[in-house]
């Protein structure tokens, strides 16, 4: 037994998250670990650091197979195909990659040229997530994006010309001054490209962003609810299925990397500010860690060895919460057997919160299957909050 009191049997699937923190400029709504680029991108040095970071962590995952890799940012498409290739070659040299492993790269329209996409593809990237957000120029400007609607269209065209048939379009709704028709229009324009995946999420004002300090005028919450419903109708009609709160896909094209988060799998993290989570069976422990968020300090870690900003073993109550925070996002509900497998905790940890959730009509339970009711789905925050450690 570990200090966390876990009984872990078997290993969850393993993924790798790679954080590339630079952006051309910071968007006013963004609270990710992103840094505006001043001067030359230290791309080669950063790839060296990523690989050194990975070397560091190999002993924790000996023998395990990687099922997916995700390049997130920041704006990963600031890196060239050759740089991405050098990193991926480095990963393959160090670890075994599952056949047909999903390798996603986030890209922003406005930072990618046609040959870039081809080069990413040659490097082994097989899925692209494009941060379109909207096709309306006025909305994009409000969001502080560096691209316009036309550039978004061009980028999707180029993406497809480069041979990517598996791609995601990020769309936001509830934008300043947006109405229901405008939100639907964005969805329709995206659907015209037959994407395999659409991330459709509401603009939120996060703490420590420019928008939080100077909030833009957002639509009324009832209008936003109508937008969501109207957009959902169109997404569904186009053959996409909502498998997660903000994720829609064609059959078999769910984002496997993200599914792994939501099913409480393991993930290695490399790059400035990246978050990792690993199951360590020898210690009967689950460990979470965060890499140095400052790109400068991260690069210096090659010398200093100070890769981590923090590292901790969440206690049982925190594990319960984190498992459900993730798993409840999935439309198909939660397999309760997975809870035991992934957290190593006994089912009695769930007695109280599950009773409350059922009594409030947010879920219903059938054997090991936890189903989320329509009410629970609409009020997911209330449902997730039930699992908060007291």
């Amino acid at each position: 037994m570990s200090a966390q009191g876990l009984t872990l049997q078997g290993m969850p699937p393993l993924a790798l998250y790679v954080h590339l923190p630079w952006c051309v400029r910071k968007c006013p709504y963004c609270d990710f670990n992103s840094h505006p680029l001043h001067g030359e991108l230290p791309a080669e040095a950063y790839v060296d650091a990523l690989l050194a970071d990975l070397d560091q962590q190999l002993p924790l995952v000996w023998g395990r197979v990687l099922h997916s890799i995700f390049f997130g940012g920041g704006t990963p498409s600031l890196f060239s195909g050759a740089q991405i290739e050098r990193f991926l070659d480095g990963v393959r040299a160090r670890m075994s990659l599952a056949p047909a492993a999903e390798i996603t790269l986030e890209a922003n329209p406005g930072t990618v040229e046609h040959d870039h996409f081809a080069a990413y593809r040659a490097a082994g990237v097989n899925r692209v997530s494009l941060g379109v957000q909207s096709f309306a120029d006025a909305a994009l400007q409000q969001l502080g994006r560096i691209h316009g609607g036309q550039e978004a269209i061009t980028a999707i065209d180029r993406l497809r010309q480069a041979g990517f048939d598996n791609f995601n379009i990020d769309l936001m709704y509830g934008l300043p001054q947006q109405d229901v028709a405008a939100a639907v229009d964005d969805v329709q324009r995206a659907l015209a490209f037959a994407p395999t995946h659409v991330s459709h999420y509401q603009l939120t004002l996060e703490p420590n962003t420019l928008f939080a300090h100077r909030p833009p005028p957002l639509p009324d919450e009832d209008i936003i609810a109508s937008m969501q419903e109207a957009c959902a109708d169109h997404l569904q009609a186009a053959g996409l299925r909502q498998y997660e709160v903000s994720a829609w896909s064609q059959p078999q094209h769910e984002c496997r990397h993200n599914l792994n988060y939501w099913r409480f799998g393991d993930y290695l993290a490399v790059g400035a500010g990246a978050h990792g989570k690993l199951t360590l069976p020898a210690e009967q422990a689950i460990v979470r860690y965060v890499r140095q968020p400052s790109p400068k300090r991260y690069l210096q870690a090659m010398q200093s060895g100070e890769w981590d900003q923090s590292r901790s073993c969440p206690d049982a109550r925190t594990l319960v919460f984190e498992f459900f925070l993730n798993a409840l996002r999935l439309r198909d509900g939660v397999d309760l057997a997975l809870f035991q497998q992934r957290t190593g905790l006994a089912m009695n940890w769930l007695q109280q919160p599950l009773d409350e959730a059922q009594q409030r009509g947010l879920v219903w339970i059938d054997g090991d299957d936890l189903h989320i009711t329509d009410l629970g789905w609409r009020f997911l925050n209330d449902l997730q909050a039930i699992f908060l450690p007291a």
Partner: protein, 597 residues
């Protein structure tokens, strides 16, 4: 030997510079070094500093070397400056032989000072008028002298001109104290009698009492008796405040200081009681204080039921040095277990509420304050109604009577029209109006319920802050009163009921329903709000169901942000009270206070 002792208080309106003047005295007498001198040392509670008012009495002993070369012991006993605390003023004054009346030389006399000044004169104190803020360009000492003579009726021709801010004239004030205020009588050969001016609870020492030794002396180690209860304690510590606590071996007659006698029980040292020696003590206690009756009642409930016992302890501790605070257990269907508390007025209520939340860290729900109604029942019985939800059925009530006060309002001439309009709106009846120089004194009979509501704020606003007022309870008067209930999703919420004048009932009902609609956040289902008199619904409103939560993007591997967000939302809900399925925020229980007129 009491010839070199002077005990005095300062009577002043808020902002007239009492604390600044007290600070000057302390500086002049080396009570504290510059470094120790934080602004306004006498106001020791956070709330007092923030609001710039004094709530609790404190004392400070100053050793002053006078112009005649002799050293005098000056005991300054601080007094509160708000109408709600006039009771505390009379307590402080009873330990003194004199009082400084500090008046702002620009603003002139204010109603509270008048009331407190009369108390001082009634108690036989020598009142020394002082004109402060003489450095201000708007200062008009001649006019204010005249006002003091006209309004209060004491001779102000020799009133000292002072600027506590710059220090001008401060020494002269101390000289005047020595010259004009009599020393305490010498009763050193009589058996000990000491008046408890104030008591408070210290976590380390237990109960600490501020006392004025009237007869004899008390020494460390003495066995003393609390005369009302006969309880005997041994004196562990004695001392004075300079304003730092400075231990002493004994306190002699005429002196003011503190006493610790390992009294652990908060009821052990009642304010206004007399201490004497256990053996060979005095026969008769000193005249105590008249106990103030609370006039405003409100329910205080812990947000979390677990805090009930803590709330009771906290109220008991507060009550120790706030004898006017009354409380008894109350049970509400909506709010669970709490206390029905009686206060002197709205400020008193707010202060107690804030102290409970800050000093004792208890989240509270306060119900709308109400006055006491007198009910004549059909069977001839007369009862006092402190809680609207406890009103007997209408067919058992012969008559409902509300408390009427006499309000004394002082204001500059140009606001007379506005203030009279306000008083008329508040169902007032004019009793008297007098022109006194540039000021006007208006006396009105007003329903206490209207005063509790928002009269003070409204008075300040219509007079741009210049009007001041003071009031006394006068009598009960019958009228057409009804109880307005608030129903949420069909359920009567007892804590929201209020008694109002029939003519105002519909408007107040509408306002309540509207206010509740604004204050109750949208929930997973519709919330129907109704205001009703008996079974007759007079107003309704509706909080529409929320359609959904925000669908935010997933933060990849980082669970911490979403957790913080959810925790914040949960924290917000914890501060709400669940009535049936509906979550009602704390402020909603005070919605009755927010009226439009």
């Amino acid at each position: 030997m009491t010839a070199h002792i002077r005990n005095f208080s300062i009577i002043a309106h808020i902002d007239h510079g009492k604390s600044t003047l007290a600070d000057r005295f302390i500086r002049l007498c080396d009570g504290l070094t510059e470094r120790e001198m934080s602004e306004q040392v006498l106001d020791s509670m956070d709330i007092e500093r923030e609001r710039g008012i004094t709530i609790k009495s404190q004392s400070v002993r100053l050793n002053y070397v006078a112009d005649d070369g002799q050293t005098y012991q000056l005991n300054l006993i601080d007094t509160p400056g708000h109408v709600d605390f006039s009771y505390e003023v009379s307590r402080s004054l009873s330990a003194c032989e004199g009082a400084l009346l500090v008046v702002d030389a620009a603003q002139g006399v204010e109603a509270q000072s008048v009331a407190n000044c009369y108390t001082a004169v009634e108690q036989g104190l020598e009142v020394v008028p002082v004109l402060n803020k003489i450095d201000l360009p708007a200062a008009d000492p001649e006019r204010v002298r005249e006002e003091i003579e006209n309004v209060i009726g004491i001779d102000a021709s020799d009133a000292l001109e002072v600027s506590a801010k710059t220090g001008v004239g401060v020494r002269e004030v101390l000289e005047a104290i020595i010259r004009l205020i009599p020393p305490p009588g010498d009763h050193s050969s009589q058996p000990l009698r000491a008046l408890i001016i104030d008591s408070w609870f210290d976590n380390y020492l237990g109960v600490v009492s501020l006392i004025r030794v009237v007869d004899g002396q008390v020494r460390k180690g003495d066995k003393i008796k609390v005369m009302s209860t006969g309880q005997v304690h041994q004196v562990d510590q004695l001392g004075v405040f300079t304003p730092k606590r400075r231990p002493a071996e004994q306190l002699n007659n005429g002196e003011v200081g503190y006493l610790v006698a390992s009294v652990k029980d908060v009821h052990g040292a009642p304010v206004g009681d007399t201490l004497t020696l256990a053996k060979g003590g005095a026969e008769q206690p000193l005249p105590g204080f008249m106990l103030m009756q609370p006039r405003v009642f409100s329910g205080l409930f812990p947000v979390s039921a677990d805090d009930y016992a803590d709330l009771r302890d906290a109220l008991e501790k507060l009550r120790l040095n706030d004898a006017a605070l009354q409380f008894e257990p109350e049970t509400s269907d909506a709010l669970g277990f709490g206390f029905r508390c009686g206060f002197l007025g709205m400020l008193h209520l707010e202060i107690v509420q804030e102290r409970l939340e800050r000093e004792y860290d208890i989240d509270l729900i306060t119900t709308a304050p109400t006055v006491i109604y007198e009910l004549q029942l059909t069977d001839g019985e007369v009862i006092k109604l402190e809680n609207p939800s406890a009103m007997p059925p209408v067919n058992k009530i012969a008559e409902i009577r509300e408390p009427i006060i006499t309000a004394n309002i002082l204001l500059p001439q140009e606001f007379v029209g506005a203030v009279i309009t306000l008083c008329e709106q508040k169902r007032g009846r004019q009793i008297q109006m007098r022109y006194l120089g540039k000021q006007v004194s208006i006396v009105y009979a007003l329903p206490m319920a209207e005063v509790v509501l928002d009269f003070f704020d409204r008075l300040k606003s219509v007079s741009r802050g210049y009007a001041s007022f003071d009031y006394q309870f006068e009598r009960y008067e019958a009228g057409p009163f009804v109880r307005v209930d608030i129903l949420i999703n069909g359920e009567r919420v007892d804590a929201l009921s209020l008694v109002v004048h029939r003519a105002d009932a519909e408007r107040r009902g509408r306002e309540m329903a509207e206010k509740m609609r604004e204050l109750i956040p949208r929930q997973m289902f519709d919330v129907a709000i109704q205001a009703a008199i008996g079974s007759h619904v007079i107003a309704r409103s509706n909080v529409k169901a929320l359609r959904k939560n925000v669908t935010a993007k997933c933060y990849g591997g980082d669970a911490t942000r979403k957790r913080k967000l959810l925790e914040k939302q949960k924290e917000g809900k914890k501060r709400m009270k669940q009535v049936g399925r509906v979550e009602i925020p704390q402020e909603a229980f005070l919605a009755a206070l927010n009226t439009s007129d």
